[in-house]
Symmetry: C2
Subunit: 321 residues, 2 copies
Amino acid sequence: MSERTLRVIGLGLIGGSLLRAAAEAGWKVRGMARSAAVVTAVREAGFDATSSIEDALADDDALVVLAVPLPAVVDVLPMVARHAPYCRLTDVVSVKQPVAAAVARHTPAARYVGGHPMAGTSASGWAAGSATLFTGAPWVVGSDDGADPVVWAQVAGLALECGAHVVPAGAADHDAAVARVSHLPHLLAAVLASVGAGGGSLATALAAASFTDGTRVAGSRPELVRAMCEGNRDALLAAVDDALGRLGAARGSLASTGGLAATIQAGHLARQTFDRHSSRSDTVHIDLTAPDALARLRDLGHQGARVIAVEGTSCRLEFGS
Amino acid sequence: MSERTLRVIGLGLIGGSLLRAAAEAGWKVRGMARSAAVVTAVREAGFDATSSIEDALADDDALVVLAVPLPAVVDVLPMVARHAPYCRLTDVVSVKQPVAAAVARHTPAARYVGGHPMAGTSASGWAAGSATLFTGAPWVVGSDDGADPVVWAQVAGLALECGAHVVPAGAADHDAAVARVSHLPHLLAAVLASVGAGGGSLATALAAASFTDGTRVAGSRPELVRAMCEGNRDALLAAVDDALGRLGAARGSLASTGGLAATIQAGHLARQTFDRHSSRSDTVHIDLTAPDALARLRDLGHQGARVIAVEGTSCRLEFGS
């Protein structure tokens, strides 16, 4: 049953976790890592692995997952084009527009549906992986026009089998959203940590929970944070400008009237909205082969819906947490 | 033993917790709250309480604690000046320069040593208090020149008996430090929450732990956050300007070269420094009656030392957490 054959290119935290989770869900899996030590470790853990990408791509009928960092995507894609040009292809990279552009350029014949499981960034490597990494995590499945409904259903099904909930979104919308709720938080945490350190040991001694919480992700590996943030440059610039505008307005208000009501109230309301669950509780069915299926999926994703089941080429979405 | 008689003016979260903790430590306590309902609740909990400030200040030989919000300090001080002009006086307000200025103006004869226990802001009121609120928390004790060594020792001793560790600091240094590590984090959390909400339901659905952590304190009661931030206006403006400068530099770098190395690396290093304990492990004894005692205390506080014991008018400080 080649439909459920998976090839995972790159066996770091995400790729390695996907290999484990998919195997547990009954997929026939094979992983590929350049490092011989990693391949050995993966085999010792009981999984099929190879250090040859040609070997990994030999089965043209597998679903291929790009699980390499963004900068390596352009190195891997030409090999995919060479060895499995028509393959079903997805990825787990944290930005979607640059990957989609690279796929269009290097492997235009592949049936590509992008993905982004939003789990774990502070640990890394095969050893840090786990079959349960994706449990309860959002997993974005790219829903731009042109996506093959069969591949879309397989990628969404894989994500669900890994324990994630599927959020349908277009690449541009995805990148704009994660800039606001993932990349900007990392940047603000770095800024806050530096401003705090500027206060010396006394400030450190007086650091409240607000500082500890607000700087936690500044402890993440800098090269991973940079890759994530720099890879989403345009969308992150827009989010940073929004933050600069709001912080500048707060500064102006504090300096002129001494008041921060607008800033504090807006933030409080926003956080309350974030904590509140969606008021919608209906279920929506989508036939993935319908002409407007992808537009409807994007619209539902915009409204906070998630895919909770895939059957053949139809899926079911729900609202709420 | 009048030395260990305490009058707590204001019985909200901090004042109410202090009343409980000091009573447990053997102080003879009396609380004052304007609300009859609060007085009843405090009495039902087994503590002495009054709604008359004259009554609360009748014992001129007690240590008086101002535990009212900053805006109410100027209302209470004239009554202190009237009923107990020479009292030993401290406070638990989150900014120190405005309180010191108000004390100098309204109760110049009081023997004032400021304080700031850094515990709990998201709950409030007598019912939310607890005798253990201060356990392990930093408690700043004002150490500007002119502080009475006897009162300093009593305030520091009270803080230690409440389970806190004492950080000596001048009022200006305190206000600058908390602007960086407490007030700015609240402002950035509000900004981040608003930017996230600007991304709509899709952004909310994709919010990572970085967003949840970075916006947590935006859930605090807006009026408390405002009072805290607005009361520390000048120091907060400087901290905001530092943050704006750093975020603006990151924006410029991302827009021009596409790189965020400087920002991310600096933040990572700062957070690592924050997580690391002090490398010093020596103990320092200070005779509080020595001419340079307060200057030495401030200097040690700057270096991250904390007072761990007070005996008579001498105290012992240690480094590390």
